[in-house]
Amino acid sequence: MAKNVVALIGAAQTKFKTHYADKTYVELAQEAAKQALDDAGMEPGEIDAVVFSMAPTQFMGVNDCDRWSTAHVFGTGKPYMRIHAGGATGGSALAAGYIHVASGVYRSVLVVGADRVAETPDAQHILNLIWDRFYEHDFALNTVTMTAIAAQRYMARYGTTEEQFAKVVVRGRKNAMGNPYAHLKGDITVDDVMNSPRVAYPYKRFDICPRSSGAAAVVLTNLEVAKQKCARPAFVNGASAITHSVFMGDRMGVFSETEFSDHDGEGIAAYEAYRQAGITDPSSQLQVAELYDPFSTFQYPIIEGLGFCGRGRAAAIDQEGGWDMRGGQVAINPSGGTLCTNPIGVTGLVRVVDAANQIMGKAGANQLPNVHNAVATAAGGSTQFFTVTVLGDDHTPKGIAQ
């Protein structure tokens, strides 16, 4: 399929924390939009279209707040769309912006959003409302319980332990210490995770992401504009998404074509994104992976789905330091990941920002050397929507010019 080269030339994120007392929702979104434009060296007039990244609006409490945000993110007078795919929203919004530019319809697109998950006291009350009233809503499903169910099945398949999942939290919080935008960070131990209060087996409190407030934005443009504006863009060489049935019970057991506990949609999406980007050996071609991991149990199946190791192997490799930011086989979530920071409506976009910064050499204290290709993921709905974005410092990797 013929398509134009897409370059990410500006990226921004705000600091993330539980509450923003000094700014409203739209002012947060505006802060990220302005910083991304500044980073790209662009004026709002150079943006042809705006994609607004926002998941359920019941957390922040203004229904369909994309309307409230139009002028604040410099969208007035421009094509403007909101993308919502639950936790995958940021990845899907990036994909929409990518298609805008790759198609040749628009030169330059701003992808921007904000969230304030803790504006209401219990996010899981709202997340329970995503299930239908006929069959599933009554059984206390929410993002904590549905992913705990997946984790219990994964543990039974592969023998993974709670202590192994706890190590993911320890590694993430440690990595986040070098990320000035991260919400949770610090030196903690496996025992700290194991001794935190039980929530839903196998989760303890520290296995679960915080409810974050903040914003993120990127500027995508074509090759011609990128050459004028940016010495080292992060090219979007692959962008894919796949969707499963809402019914998790269809995706487990002998009659299922997919395996629920493997988060296998991420693997299917990766296959397509890798095809576009010419990635044939993920472990040697990709140096950084920014994974959507709101729970400690997400990393291992996603690492396996992305082809960094075989199914059921990621936990053992972790014990040997294989996913460490420095010295590992692939640097997994050098930002600290979603376990440390989860502003749901933009989390997938933050993954892209963090991955792009590593390629553009803008990752600060956590900058890794020789990053040529990076991958970012997102997942949402009833572990139902999966996105994969492949970024690179070269726009002509093998396989892209088709």
């Binding site: 899981q124 329970n128 069959y135 169910i149 219990q152 209060p197």
Partner: protein
């Protein structure tokens, strides 16, 4: 100016959800303590929850199958924290594939000692057998029954 000032708000919204023919037939079955899966003769799949259309064969489901009141756990969790508007903890949730169904259906697992969470979780591992226990007087709602461990 007080930068820490907040304005309080609450949403109260009421709905009436139309049940439709497929769920309506399923709910009528529950009133007779029957759990009915929609069946597609093209794919051979028996769906729970029931579907109007087979998502595998892309054909209309053209029959109903009464599934067994015993089944097998595919995945489960034990919840020990309180969430707003959800049941008081502790409680166990499981996806179980009932005999003759192709897919797993979620429900609570009751009657299990949950005081030792890892020990209880071990009893709910994939492969564990469950039985369906109905209310004495079903109302035609999914909450008319729950699971209990079979052994």
């Amino acid at each position: 100016m007080n930068a820490d000032d907040v304005i309080h708000g609450e949403w109260h919204v009421r709905y009436n959800y139309s049940v439709g023919k497929v769920a309506g037939h399923f709910f009528e079955g529950l009133k007779e303590k029957k759990i009915l899966a929609s069946h597609c003769s093209a794919s051979g799949i028996a769906y729970l929850p029931p579907r109007a259309y087979c998502e595998r064969a892309f054909e209309p489901c053209d029959g109903w199958v009464e599934v067994g009141h015993t089944g097998t756990i595919e995945a489960a969790t034990i919840v020990t924290a309180a969430f707003e508007n959800l049941p008081p903890p502790p409680y166990a949730i499981a996806y179980a594939r009932l005999d003759n169904a192709s897919t797993a259906l979620v429900n609570f697992v009751r009657g299990l000692d949950l005081s030792d969470v890892p020990a209880a979780a071990a009893k709910l591992k994939p492969g564990a057998k469950v039985k369906v226990v109905f209310k004495d007087t079903p109302e035609g709602r999914i909450t008319d029954f729950h699971y209990e461990l079979a052994e």
